[in-house]
């Protein structure tokens, strides 16, 4: 079960890191380009650590790259939010803000995990994630309370992505079992903090909080949107076309 949990965490980081990597060289200004790449680097690095650990626990001789590059979509356990396309900078920031808020509270809890490795990993990653959350929250404010146009674009992105934020704190079986054993995060516990932070930032950013309550889910159990297939087609191309070689 902890194997699956590590994949849930790792796949979120890998797929969001991939999406941010798509910005590299194309961001609104050089400083933003560097910051987005920095977050992509942190997330991909976290995914790598989590996959190494998952492979070790699984004990079947797989490597971090086997896990990233040789699974098909149904075995990916990331939430639907992180596979959503970049669209524009407003979408990218809303997606990032939801994820960072979740990731921040989740890792804060994970530092208390009964699993020593996971607690250590969380403590190390929390420094990076704290910076990510600061970056995305600040941009929520700048875009939300910037110009009329930026406000409108951010509101659109928020309305479109709103239905994907609930899955982050909605427990599946893996979450429930690991929360019970004190290894994983109790999502019920962080849910109020997560919602409060989102409300706080959205209202400071002068945005209307969407009233829809229907939330999409399924990613954590391998039921994905159409986007993931294309991400994997790109990401896994070389490993699939030239199997079994070193790179």
């Amino acid at each position: 079960m902890i194997f699956k949990y590590l994949l849930q965490l790792g796949d979120n980081a890998l797929i969001l890191g991939h999406r941010l990597g798509e910005w590299c060289g194309h961001a609104p200004e050089l400083e933003i380009d560097m910051a987005l790449t920095n977050i992509a680097l942190d997330l991909t690095g976290q995914a790598r650590n989590l996959f190494q650990r998952a492979a070790e626990i699984e004990g079947k001789g797989r490597t971090e790259d086997d896990i990233a590059y040789l699974r098909d979509a149904w075995d990916f356990r990331n939430v639907l939010l992180v596979e959503q396309p970049n669209e524009d900078f407003a979408f990218t920031i809303v997606r990032q803000f939801f994820f960072d808020t979740f990731n921040y509270y989740a890792h804060q809890e994970l530092t208390k995990s009964k699993d020593e490795w996971l607690a250590g990993f969380a403590a190390k990653s929390l420094k990076e994630i704290t910076y990510h959350l600061r970056f995305s929250s600040e941009w929520m404010l700048r875009l939300g309370d910037g110009t009329e146009l930026s406000h409108q674009k951010l509101q659109t992105a928020l309305d479109e992505l709103w239905m994907y934020h609930g899955e982050l704190v909605q427990p599946n079986e893996v979450d429930l079992e690991l929360a019970k054993s004190g290894v994983g995060v109790d999502l019920e516990k962080i849910k109020p903090l997560f919602n409060e932070k989102i409300e706080e930032v959205l209202s400071k950013a002068t945005l209307n909080i969407p009233t829809d309550t229907w939330m999409q889910s399924g990613g954590k159990d391998g039921k994905h949107s159409e986007h993931l297939g294309y991400i994997l087609a790109d990401m896994q191309f070389l490993q699939r076309a030239y199997p079994g070689v070193e790179w």
Binding site: G21, E22, P28, I32, T147
Partner: protein
């Protein structure tokens, strides 16, 4: 009379190897030459992010992906220091960027070639960064202080990039037959454009002589090109790859490799905008700039609102009263 004196004093300083600093007097032509050269270099870093960025989502392992992300990020950083170095000469970053977007300013032609396979990421690191280092090591001794200092920092990162590129080539050259083929194909495509990076032959180089006198440049295009060939040929041999030049051979008398004639027609064509990717590169930069306009405007508007709120905050009002 005084003007001549200033120029003489300036040249004497250069001859004595004293660095020129932003507030020092300098001839207008020296300032212009430096702004042109430094901004071209900055633009090259920024445009250079595109061919490599093209493989970020397809990097074949997590380790390679991290290295590539970090490398492209370093290039953005180099662009930033170089724009700052140009600003010490009175240039303005926005204006320099406009010159790139409108095609008025040049950037290194090498980035107008496409990256069609993963081995190209290796070849760029090995050959393109290798060629850039030859030039940049020389520039760490350039007479203009801020440029020379920026170059010291950039060179350190570039040599790391070059090692990474060579390591990719090594892994592929020693890998499966398909990987070796990919590596050879990349070398075939990048070899000649890399030699072109050093610019026209000395006899045809418009800016060289004055730049040497001002010690912005310390070695001629042809000298640097020869140095690059001499260093790179044994590296290719070690990889077991063949450099695509039938005229390449060691010349005992000269103590250098002789090499074939560069296709100067291709060189000038790519400079003029007819390379395989000139249009795509500029279009990508223009798109990023235009699509990002509302974001930059929002940041400015938000900062202004924040300042105004500070001014009208109760505390500020109380203090004013």
């Amino acid at each position: 009379m005084t003007h001549l004196n200033l120029e003489d004093q300036f040249q004497a300083k250069i001859d004595a190897e004293t660095k020129i600093e932003p507030k020092d007097w300098m001839p207008e032509a020296y300032r212009k030459t430096l702004i042109r050269q430094i901004s071209q270099h900055a633009h090259s870093e920024i445009v250079g992010m595109l061919p490599e960025g093209n493989w970020i989502t397809r990097a074949p392992s997590l380790r390679r992906k991290l290295i590539l992300l970090a490398k492209v990020q370093d290039e953005a950083g180099h662009g930033l220091y170089l724009y700052s170095a140009a600003e010490t000469l009175g240039a303005n970053r926005d204006e320099l960027v406009q010159q790139l977007l409108t095609g008025k300013a040049k950037y290194s032609s090498i980035f107008n070639y496409p990256t069609t396979s993963w081995a190209d990421i290796g070849a760029i690191g090995w050959l393109v960064d290798g060629a850039a280092i030859m030039n940049q090591v020389m520039l760490t001794r350039a007479s203009y202080g801020p440029y020379a200092r920026a170059m010291v920092r950039i060179c350190k990162e570039e040599s790391f990039h070059q090692r990474q590129g060579y390591e990719i080539m090594m892994t592929m050259a020693k890998g499966s037959p398909a990987q070796k083929q990919m590596a050879q194909d990349a070398l075939n495509r990048w070899w000649w454009p890399s030699l072109m990076m050093f610019g026209p032959k000395d006899d045809d180089s418009a800016h060289s002589e004055q730049s040497m006198k001002w010690k912005i440049k310390r070695k001629s295009n042809d000298e640097l090109r020869q140095q690059f060939v001499d260093v790179t040929v044994p590296q290719a041999e070690y990889l077991g790859l063949t450099i695509p030049d039938p005229d390449l051979q060691w010349n005992e008398d000269r103590g250098h490799y002789d090499f074939g004639e560069i296709n100067w027609e291709e060189f000038w064509n790519v400079v003029k905008g007819n390379g395989p990717c000139n249009r795509q590169r500029i279009q990508a930069r223009v798109k990023a700039y235009e699509d990002g306009a509302w974001v930059r405007e929002a940041a400015v508007a938000y900062a202004e609102k924040k300042d105004q709120r500070k001014l009208v905050s109760p505390k500020a009002q109380a203090e004013a009263a």
